[in-house]
């Protein structure tokens, strides 16, 4: 998790890739990967992989700011299933996304931004309130 020591003074970050509706919420940040199959206890809504930097933390309704989307095509279905049960993250933000994540977020109609001019996980503090504006490919820190 970012310790805030290298936080960017900027309040806005432009992504190269964006989709989904505009959302705002609390960021949960880690320099780690993400796969719904590998990393989550989707029944209880927590990170479950013991070695994950967010192990034990709830992801529900959080804007997850992570390094890279990881393997496992199951995520494409799982995001849709998690949203149907009210157990999905609010949005995903990555340094590097992969097609599976885009396909899953598209099916679930969730918001995702990816690809920045700096490491986004070291630019945003966990617990910060952020707004995602996909039509402008923009992440804005609002509190």
């Amino acid at each position: 998790m970012s310790d805030g020591s290298q936080l960017d003074e900027r309040r806005e970050f432009v992504a190269r890739h964006a989709m989904g509706p505009r959302v705002s919420g609390v960021a949960l940040v880690a320099k780690d990967g993400f796969s719904a199959r590998y990393d989550l206890d989707r029944i209880n809504g927590v990170f479950s992989r013991p070695s994950h930097k967010l192990a034990g933390q709830s992801y529900r309704d959080r804007i997850l700011v992570l390094d890279a989307a990881k393997g496992g095509v199951a995520t494409a279905w799982m995001l849709h299933e998690m949203k149907a049960r009210g157990m999905a993250p609010l949005a995903l933000v990555f340094n590097a996304a992969n097609p599976i994540m885009a396909q899953g977020m598209a099916l679930a109609d969730l918001t995702m931004l990816a690809g920045f001019d700096r490491d986004i996980t070291s630019a945003i503090a966990s617990g910060a309130r952020v707004e995602l504006i996909p039509e402008c490919a923009l992440l804005r820190v609002i509190g």
């Binding site: 590998y38 199951a74 494409a76 279905w77 149907a84 396909q103």
Partner: protein, 412 residues
């Protein structure tokens, strides 16, 4: 995205609501990645186990399947990844009735959609391998990395909704590994040791996957001193895709796009150069070694080929297992294994041969709790990477050590 006349007709609904929904989904994904247009694909491979689908996903498939046959049937050969059960052994696994109900609903929907229920993650060994330059829309990361790297086919990771959409439209957005520009190497890896066993190939793939780190990384691997078997590259690629989300690798002098390094690395490119040796593989393996006692042995992820089942049967002769040993293969191979006596040799020792499923796609958390399984040993590096999130303590060992552990209940 630029759409041709057929694609515009699909999007307008002129070819029915199912194809309209499918191409709209594909456009959303394609525009996210900046695809300029679509590329026709010859096959689609759909991952859709019901643990992933949940009731919401099954209902979505049933919604598609509720339309008229002309509107709902796929336009190209479309096959399936493993299901979430082997109905013949669901009771042995202690799967609940609701899981089987979801599976049956999913199968019914796929039949109505015209999908061929091959239920395999090794279709390149058992159904029809793609050829060099063939554009396909494959799901299962292990299938994609093998098809791209070993066969020279062109595919992105296509999750279930997108692979099915490709089946329904006969095309996929042209981005990523459908474009030659993305198929050049982005890092060089010098391997100072050539694996022999399948678990070693998997572990090496896992190490390189971790180093590569993301989907857009393409390792060019030098130093492999043999022509690896299909099973070796199966484990190697599946682990690399699992640990690193990698979809394409080149082994110089082995894989078709890299007869020479300069075929995948331009002279002007200054790529990161990394070295990997046996100590890196040992470190990965030992990082998973948490206990000597074990609860279960599993061979799966990817499904076993006929040759792997034959190797396993040889190790099982005259043995008696004290913990469960599960070996998972494809529905295409199982009848051959039965006919050749491989299944009976494994099961005479106390093992179980399952077909058409994959262990980690079969409600792994629920069957662990129902059976008291936690400490699992396997020769699949991909499996050890996945199962930690499901509450297991997975350990990686050779096939021989796995069978020995099944006999003693302890991993030597």
């Amino acid at each position: 995205m630029h759409l041709n006349d057929v694609e515009q007709a699909m999007l307008a609904g002129d070819m029915g609501p199912v194809r309209k929904l499918a191409i709209a989904h594909q456009i959303k994904v394609g525009e996210f990645f900046g695809a300029k247009d679509f590329v026709p694909v010859s096959q689609a491979h759909v991952m859709a186990d019901t643990e992933s689908l949940g009731d919401a996903g099954v209902a979505w498939l049933e919604m598609l399947a509720s339309h008229s046959p002309a509107e709902r049937r796929v336009r190209i050969p479309t096959i399936t990844d493993p299901r979430g059960t082997d109905f013949a052994h669901a009771e042995t696994l202690k799967q609940a009735a609701w899981m089987l109900t979801l599976e049956k609903r999913t199968i019914d929907a796929f039949v109505k959609l015209g999908v061929l229920l091959t239920d395999t993650c090794i279709n390149y060994q058992t159904v029809q391998a793609p050829t060099r330059g063939e554009h396909v829309a494959f799901g299962d990361t292990g299938v994609v990395i093998y098809s791209n790297s070993v066969c020279g086919a062109l595919s992105n990771f296509e999750g279930g909704p997108s692979a099915l959409s490709a089946g329904l439209t006969g095309r996929t957005p042209s981005y990523g590994y459908h474009l030659d520009t993305h198929r050049q190497a982005t890092l060089r890896v010098r391997v100072e040791w050539t694996p022999e066993r399948l678990d070693e190939w998997g572990a090496l793939g896992g190490v390189i996957g971790r180093l590569a780190g993301h989907y857009w990384a393409v390792p060019a691997i030098e130093g492999i001193e043999t022509a690896p078997s299909s099973d070796a590259l199966k484990h190697f690629g599946a682990a690399m895709a699992s640990f690193g989300s990698v979809a394409l690798f080149h082994i110089v002098g082995v894989t078709p796009e890299a007869p020479r390094l300069r075929d995948v690395v331009s002279e002007s490119a200054r790529l990161p150069e990394l070295r990997v040796g046996s100590s890196d593989v040992d470190a990965l393996r030992s990082s998973y070694r948490v206990d000597d006692a074990i609860d279960i042995v599993v061979f799966s992820g990817p499904q076993l080929s006929l040759l792997e089942l034959s190797m396993l049967a040889d190790l099982c002769d005259g043995r008696r297992f004290v913990v469960p040993l599960l070996a998972v293969t494809s529905p295409q191979i199982k009848p051959d294994a039965d006919r050749m006596g491989l299944t009976s040799r494994i099961e005479n020792a106390g093992g179980t041969v399952l077909a058409g499923m994959c262990f980690y796609q079969s409600y792994a958390r629920e069957i662990a709790e129902a059976n008291g399984w936690k400490r699992l040993v396997t020769n699949s590096a991909k499996m050890v990477n996945i199962l930690g999130g499901y509450g297991y303590q997975p350990m990686l060992a050779s096939m021989e050590a796995c069978v020995d552990a099944a006999c003693s209940g302890r991993l030597a």
